[in-house]
């Protein structure tokens, strides 16, 4: 189709420029909602630009002009045809108390898988140490965990009597724990993109370490020390890592659900909000766990009675369970 290009360009250019300016205003403030007259004008200018582009497509020589109009139409298309819900403006409190626990319950099967693999790993770790006590060095890679439980308990309780050995480094230690554990949770989730294999390995491995350490202390007769040391922060930290695994399995489920006739991109798009809600919850829980671990868990008898620490840990666990099972039940999100 041959058009009078000069006339066409001079007639359409003001509309292209107006569309460019309108898109520029939208880009400058992406969260702004357009007024009705602005939205109608945007739609008109998009349709007019699209019609112009169809004419320019018939002129092979007009590369630059076509690219310009094409870029305008592409940008306007994204604005006009965006139909996904915009729940991201919700308040943080509403998100944490409603959206996050709802996402957790919606993905209950993935959580069960995550917890199952973790505790399977823990059972394996305990079993492996029972069968071969010399495997401790291989199973438990952390420095102070390589001590015998009796040495560790004696050292900890001795140092508590000598004074606060954590003095002057508690805040930094807390920050280290928060960032490290959040990285582990994000990594466990990200490994969901390996069809869930990476997530499964990460969860199993973390379970093995916990199981081996737990068995080591229990069989040595230091169960109270173990519970008092781990429960205050572990009652939040371990579930948070499991939520990271849950998010990873949500991703893996979208990759593997071949019976679902939707395309892969659509399946992944559908699960993205839940993955992010879970990871957001993980980050908040790990901030709490980091504070508790640095400022509470590191104190043992005689400074803090083990029974008190165990009670605090159990209370946290019950609160977390009630929160996840009941929060946001009657709310529509």
């Amino acid at each position: 189709m041959i058009v009078d290009l000069d006339r066409f360009v001079s007639r359409e250019r003001p509309f292209w420029q107006e569309l460019e300016q309108l898109l520029g205003r939208i880009d400058a403030d992406p969260e702004r909602t357009l007024a009705l007259d602005e939205a109608l004008r945007l739609h008109y200018l998009y349709q007019r630009g699209g019609a112009g582009l169809a004419k320019l497509n018939s002129l092979p020589g007009e590369t630059a002009l076509r690219a310009y109009v094409e870029s305008l139409v592409a940008r306007a298309y994204g604005q006009i045809h965006e139909t996904r819900g915009g729940s991201w403006g919700a308040s943080a409190w509403r998100w944490f108390t409603i959206t996050f626990p709802q996402a957790f319950r919606r993905r209950g099967r993935e959580f069960a898988l995550s917890a199952g693999l973790f505790f399977l790993g823990a059972a394996f770790g305990a079993f492996a140490l029972r069968v071969d006590p010399t495997a401790k060095v291989s199973l438990v890679g952390f420095g102070h965990l390589k001590q015998t439980p009796a040495e560790r308990v004696a050292n900890e309780e001795q140092s508590q009597k000598a004074g606060d050995e954590m003095a002057g480094r508690k805040t930094r230690f807390s920050a280290e724990l928060m960032t490290h554990n959040t990285r582990v949770a994000i990594f466990t989730c990200a490994m969901g993109m390996t069809w869930g294999f990476g997530t499964a390995i990460s969860l199993f491995y973390n379970g093995v370490v916990l199981g081996a350490v737990g068995y080591d202390y229990v069989q040595a007769g230091f169960t109270r020390f173990l519970l008092g040391w781990l429960l205050p922060h572990g009652s939040v930290e371990i579930p948070a890592i499991l939520f990271g695994g849950q998010a990873g399995f949500v991703l893996a489920g979208a990759l593997l659900r071949r019976r679902d006739r939707r395309r892969l991109g659509e399946r992944l798009r559908q699960v993205t909000p839940d993955v992010l809600h879970l990871l957001g919850g993980v980050a908040i829980l790990l901030v709490w766990a980091g504070i508790v671990e640095a400022f509470f868990s590191q104190y043992h008898e005689p400074v803090l009675p083990y029974d008190l620490k165990i009670a605090v840990g159990l209370l946290e666990l019950v609160c977390l369970f009630l929160f996840l099972s009941r929060a946001g039940r009657n709310a529509h999100d």
Partner: protein, 257 residues
């Protein structure tokens, strides 16, 4: 509806309009990422220096602030900038790249967050080898984070119209008397041939004389094959002048305006 050519994402809108987005390759993305890593290290060095030099807080709190900032900056750099700059970081701006929704829709915050949070799996086992391998075999050039978030990285195209006045000053053009042949050329000659010819004429002084003559002869033959002007209009023209006149008549209407 979406179709994919090699390195190009073509989107057909419900209105029947088709537009294409050039996809970014791994090398360009890698350079953008190196620039971003440099930016992150500069930010972190500055924050470390600031925390130490201000000396307002104790060493314990200063260490904690630095660690938390490091985590936030390393994780949030891409998220914050791609959010504010509609799919661009400093590295992507320099390399003229932009993150886009794979369906051509508006890039949304959840997509930006997810593609950035999934970087750890792309970076396995080291130096983004897994992400690079996935990109290599993926026709949309997506790493795993892009696949999960439904995003692509495109090359931003230059939008200026070519100024044909630079290669064909406003003087007598023997081909201007044949507008129907100019229209035929406009219809038949592929856009990339016109673009290459334009560049070849702009860079004439960079070629060896022999190579220049051969190149212009080859390009001129492609135009002649599509529309043969009368001998009277072309007999005294060199291939180079012929090409200048041809591009001028293709854009003549707008030049006359």
């Amino acid at each position: 509806m979406r179709t994919i050519d090699t390195d190009t994402l073509r989107i057909r809108t419900p209105e029947g309009v088709t537009f294409s987005l050039p996809l970014a390759g791994p090398v360009r993305r890698c350079l953008a990422m190196l620039l971003d890593m440099f930016c992150i290290s500069v930010i972190m060095t500055s924050i470390g220096y600031l925390v130490r030099s201000l000396n307002l807080v104790g060493a314990d709190l200063a260490g904690a602030i630095y660690l938390l900032f490091f985590f936030v900056v390393a994780t949030g750099y891409g998220i914050a900038l791609e959010w504010r700059w509609r799919g661009q970081t400093v590295g992507k701006r320099v390399m003229q790249l932009r993150v886009m929704d794979a369906e051509g829709l508006r890039l949304r915050p959840p997509q930006i967050i997810l593609r950035n949070l999934l970087r750890p799996v792309d970076s396995l086992p080291a130096l983004y080898l897994l992400g690079g391998a996935v990109m290599f075999f993926n026709r949309r050039r997506q790493r795993l984070g892009d696949l999960a978030a439904g995003t692509v990285v495109i090359v931003e195209t230059h939008l200026e119209e070519p100024d044909f006045g630079r290669i064909a000053p406003n003087k007598f053009n023997s081909l201007a008397a044949y507008p129907h042949l100019a229209a035929r050329l406009r219809m038949r000659v592929p856009a990339d041939v016109i673009a290459v010819t334009f560049e070849a004429l702009l860079r004439r002084d960079q070629f060896e004389p022999g190579a220049r003559l051969a190149l212009y002869a080859d390009l001129a033959s492609q135009f002649r094959a599509e529309a043969e002007f009368p001998v009277a209009a072309t007999e005294d023209l060199s291939d180079e002048q012929y090409l200048r006149n041809v591009l001028a008549v293709i854009a003549s209407q707008r030049r006359q305006r």
